[in-house]
């Protein structure tokens, strides 16, 4: 079974549309993340949730809204998509996110978003 799964793998859409990316982890982790990887492979954290509570919101436009219905799920909804939103979005999870010796990020395989 895939530890961190995100869907869809590819998403092609027009500017101005609203879209969602779903993420689920079956590892029993408390903390989940969304990262954005741009065309130059730079990885930047967007959001972090711990036990369904928003911990990190890294100056992301409010068109991006994460939602965590439970510890195992963290979805990302994007309103009014713009050309600059084109990137690969990675979901990840970790045991605690608290810098313990168990600390390690488990990544999903990514969602490639192309805004036309």
């Amino acid at each position: 079974d895939t530890a961190v799964s995100q869907t869809p793998k590819y998403l092609v859409t027009q500017m101005g549309n609203d879209k969602s990316i779903k993420c689920e982890q079956n590892l029993g982790h408390d903390t989940m993340y969304w990262y954005k990887q741009d065309s130059k492979k730079f990885l930047k954290i967007m959001f972090s949730y711990n036990n369904k509570e928003l911990i990190i919101n890294e100056t992301v436009p409010n068109r991006f809204s994460p939602k965590s219905p439970d510890k195992a799920h963290l979805n990302l909804h994007i309103n009014s998509l713009e050309l600059g939103d084109s990137a690969v979005y990675f979901c990840a999870s970790s045991q605690e996110g608290s810098g313990t010796t168990n600390e390690k990020l488990f990544f999903g395989s990514g969602t490639q978003l192309s805004v036309l």
Binding site: T31, L43, K44, S48, A92, S98, L105
Partner: protein, 114 residues
């Protein structure tokens, strides 16, 4: 604030040759250090991590890294690379006290040539 610098954006190397990928970090407090690998069209996987103790850390696939506090470096090495090692490699830091935040470097593309 913490930051990570990977000086080389691309490193070409011939198969069976040794390789070193450089990572330097900046932090006023102790940090945990990581190397992740990203194969094409995949998510990142952990190669190895340094939390404390021995400064030489061994990871998967024959990789190792050495933590050097005085030089604030955490360089990744492999004595003999294979074609299958071609991938993007990311150095990352996080704080032991827990910030729920990893800071990644800009990545180094390792290209192994036949």
């Amino acid at each position: 604030a913490q930051s990570v610098t990977q000086l080389d954006s691309q490193v070409p190397v011939f198969e069976e040759a040794p390789v070193e990928l450089r990572c330097n970090y900046s932090s006023s407090v102790s940090v945990y250090l990581f190397w992740y690998v990203q194969y094409p069209n995949q998510g990142l996987q952990l190669l190895l991590k340094y939390l404390s103790g021995s400064t030489l850390v061994k990871g998967i696939n024959g990789f190792e890294a050495e933590f050097n506090k005085s030089q604030t470096s955490f360089h990744l090495r492999k004595p003999s690379v294979h074609i299958s090692d071609t991938a993007e490699y990311f150095c990352a830091v996080t704080l032991p006290s827990g910030t729920y935040k990893y800071i990644f470097g800009t990545g180094t593309r390792l290209k192994v040539l036949a």
